[in-house]
Amino acid sequence: MKTLITTVGLARTYRQGSVDVHALRGVDLEVGEGEFSALAGPSGSGKTTLLNLIGCLDTPTSGIVTVAGRDVTRLGKNAAAAFRLEHIGFVFQAYNLVPVLTAFENAEFTLMLKGVAAAERRRIVTPLLERVGLGGLEQRRPHELSGGQQQRVAVVRAIASTPSIVLADEPTANLDTETSVGLLDLMLDLNREHGVTFLFSTHDPTVIGRARRIVRLDSGHIVGEERPDSKG
């Protein structure tokens, strides 16, 4: 299996007034192509910080991050944005969508940013929306969709531009258990069907149960790792 993400000795310290908050204290992690992995850990354990560093949204205090063979540790703002557009899909906990755009327009947004022509965008996005069960709801605005439906639109937007990996930071945090499981199953299906690599964070045990690989974080350290499916 090809390695997609490597972090070496990754540390991130926030300065809060005169106090240093060590959010990550040296994380070595590898994520392979096609994985469906969870970052599990209590609130404040450093999940968001790690995802932000991998997603080129933040710069580590020390350590190295490579994504798809490229050292992304110190990219400039414009270069980082371009890299994210090309290689990384994001699903956030909330406020994923632009309220003035329809479900379809939100879903095609990354493709639009990449300069894909309208007809081609339609050809790509329409079946994906259909696939996640949003057929017929394309023209709705986010406020006319349920929380689960909104997250599905965000998932479609994240995978539409065929990124190397989709990073999802607590994508189910605002959803009830049933909807959460539904969303996870959908992501898992997309992982199987399209080979999309997912790395998501959560502290919800039900959601953790869906992962094929679980990386446990606590106080900025990796404290354990499981692969529920793999025998040996």
């Binding site: 949204l57 703002k77 944005a81 371009a82 557009l85 899909g89 406020y95 994923n96 947004f109």
Partner: protein, 412 residues
């Protein structure tokens, strides 16, 4: 992106409408005030030329300050002919003006008797329709006099009565001359109606025993803007005369009026600047609010790959759309106001009660309309657009600088 910008603009419909209408109204009012100012200034200048008696005046040296009838130009007809031949001059009006005492059987009044050619005068002011009683000059009357109705009343004379003019001639001798009142006129300007008497150039000359003298040559120009240039040309051409003459442009003759016009124009500039500042402040504030309210969303967009430059472009695009809407509406309002003024006008005499006079120049057309001034309108509209765009630079810069992690954490 255009669609996104457009929809973002109308997110807070009420606020956008307020800002748009504020800009549109300011611009509209500004344009209307430009139209009115220009119209008034043009009318004031026309009134000034009328009141002065020409775009450029030629007198015996010192006449304009003294206004005494002993200061006459000998050989006036020949001088007028020479002036008429100068390029830029479209016509000359010959006048003999005598300031003196007019006496009737009932008493005496100070008066200004003008020997004129009515047809020539009509180029600046047509006296003929102002006749109230009697008639103007006829061939068989050698000493006709048409009096302002106020003066006729003061002297208690009517058509057919005789009056005597006493005045000093160019030789320094006091002369007396008899005139027949042939008519009365009413201009509506009391200062004139109470002091003016009109006669022929010949009769006026005869009264002071002059031959070809003239008091004043009213020079009409093809282009008033070139008056200074033509003024110098006339002065140069008349340099060889034995008796010195003075050559004055209308604004030299009535200096206060031009000052008034200039103050008016400075005021327009101040007005524009004030409105510009108001617009700038309002817009900058609104745009900044539009950005700050959306910090989280802009952070999210940046996270999914919309680079800082594109985020800034989005904000600028929203501004451009706002500017286009506001300026279009404002221009339409201004133009509608302009057309309404052209059609109906605004009667200033109702405000000031009849007569209007600015810097001593009476305005006989007191209805202010509007004149389209492409340059000023374009400049004002351009300034407003620039101000709007400039005021979006800071918000756009803020949006561009935002850190996605911070932005998304901030309002969690």
């Amino acid at each position: 992106m255009g669609i996104l910008a457009w929809r973002n603009l109308w997110r807070n419909r009420g606020r956008t409408l307020i800002v748009v209408s504020a800009i549109a109204l300011s611009l509209g009012l500004m344009l209307v005030s430009y139209g009115m100012t220009l119209d008034r200034n043009v009318k004031m200048m026309q009134a000034a030329v009328r009141s002065a008696g020409g775009n450029v005046l030629v007198h015996a040296d010192g006449y304009w300050d003294a206004r005494t009838s002993d200061l006459q130009m000998p050989g006036g007809d020949a001088i007028a002919d020479r002036v008429a031949a100068i390029p830029g001059v479209s016509g000359v009006i010959r006048r003999v003006i005598i300031s003196g005492l007019l006496t009737s059987t009932h008493g005496g009044e100070g008066a200004q008797i003008m020997g004129v050619d009515l047809e020539g005068e009509a180029q600046v002011y047509d006296f003929r329709p102002r006749l109230v009683t009697g008639q103007f000059f006829t061939a068989d009357d050698e000493t006709p006099l048409v009096l302002g109705d106020g003066l006729a009343e003061l002297l208690d004379v009517e058509v057919g009565d005789r009056v005597v003019l006493t005045a000093t001639g160019p030789d320094g001798e006091v002369a007396r001359a008899l005139f027949h009142v042939t008519g009365t006129l009413h201009t509506g300007v009391s200062m004139i109606d109470d002091s003016l008497g009109l006669t022929t150039v010949g009769a006026a000359r005869a009264a002071l025993a002059m031959d070809t003298h003239l008091t004043q040559i009213g020079v009409l120009l093809t282009d008033d803007d070139r008056r200074d240039e033509v003024d110098r040309a006339i002065a140069a051409a008349l340099d060889d005369l034995p008796a010195q003459v003075e050559v004055l442009t209308w604004d030299e003759a009535i200096p206060d009026l031009l000052g008034f016009v200039e103050i008016d124009e400075k005021f327009a500039v101040v007005y524009t600047v004030v409105i510009g500042l108001v617009v700038a402040f309002g817009i900058a504030n609104t745009l900044l609010m539009m950005v700050m309210e959306r910090i989280r969303e802009l952070g999210m967009l940046n996270a999914i790959g919309m680079g800082p430059r594109r985020v800034a472009i989005l904000v600028l695009l929203e501004t451009v759309l706002l500017a286009v809407v506001a300026v279009t509406v404002g221009f339409a309002l201004g133009f509608a106001g302009h057309l309404a003024l052209v059609h109906w006008g605004l009667d200033l005499s109702k405000l000031s009660g009849g007569e209007m006079d600015i810097a001593g120049v009476s305005m006989n057309d007191t209805i202010i309309r509007s004149q389209f001034d492409a340059l000023r309108w374009g400049a004002a509209t351009g300034v407003v657009v620039l101000v709007i765009l400039a005021s979006s630079l800071y918000p756009a810069w803020r949006a561009m600088r935002l850190d996605p992690v911070e932005a998304m954490r901030t309002y969690e």
